[in-house]
Amino acid sequence: MSARVQTAPFVLADELAGLEAGAGALVSFTGIVRDDSGRLEALEIEHYPGMTERALADYGAEAARRFQLTGWRIVHRFGRLPVGAEIMMVAAAARHRHAAFDGAAYLMDWLKSRAPFWKREIDVGGAARWVEAKDSDEAALTRW
């Protein structure tokens, strides 16, 4: 039942500890910096301090209500994250598996388009560009 924004790495096992109590199913999602172009060095992630924490807490509470989650967690990093680094995690615990899967997928869909984070790609050599929002991420929200 918590959302955090931080620069430091997180330890997934520590984040999941405590979420199993009373649950039958626990789903976790971890996002990793992926080099699609073969020349990416890092992502730089900017966010809106204050608003981010509030938005994440709201989405978590809404997921808990909607899917009757017994527990949930969101951790999102910001700052410079090299290729291969863990960007963020969400977890959803519930009595049954479909609710846990739906809870985690719901949190991810909202995070992608409705949490105030912005990613910039930094190439090897230093060239930088802002990641553009995807229509498919916006469209993913319509299923909920």
Partner: protein
């Protein structure tokens, strides 16, 4: 009225500032956008594409036609790319 304006990501870069404090009579987000877009060529560039503009009033998402009301902190930014 005195308002704090925050810019994030590409808007912050285009405006060249993360924060401005302004005196404004604008009543809606759209009026404030028009006012700021007129402030400099950099501001005009930042606000050129209204479809790619997002706004929050006191950290709550708001539409272009939302009244500014008593909002103290008004943030402008591009579509979000979290996760």
């Amino acid at each position: 009225m005195r308002r704090d304006i925050l810019y994030f990501a590409s808007l912050r870069e285009r405006v060249g500032a993360a924060r401005e404090t302004v005196e404004t009579e604008a009543a809606t987000v759209r009026e404030l956008v028009a006012e700021r877009a007129a402030a400099s060529p950099a501001h005009a560039a930042a606000f050129a594409d209204l479809k790619a503009l997002r706004c929050a009033l006191d950290q709550q998402f708001a539409d272009l036609d939302a009244p500014l009301g008593e909002a103290r902190e008004i943030a402008f930014f591009p579509p979000m790319t979290g996760g």
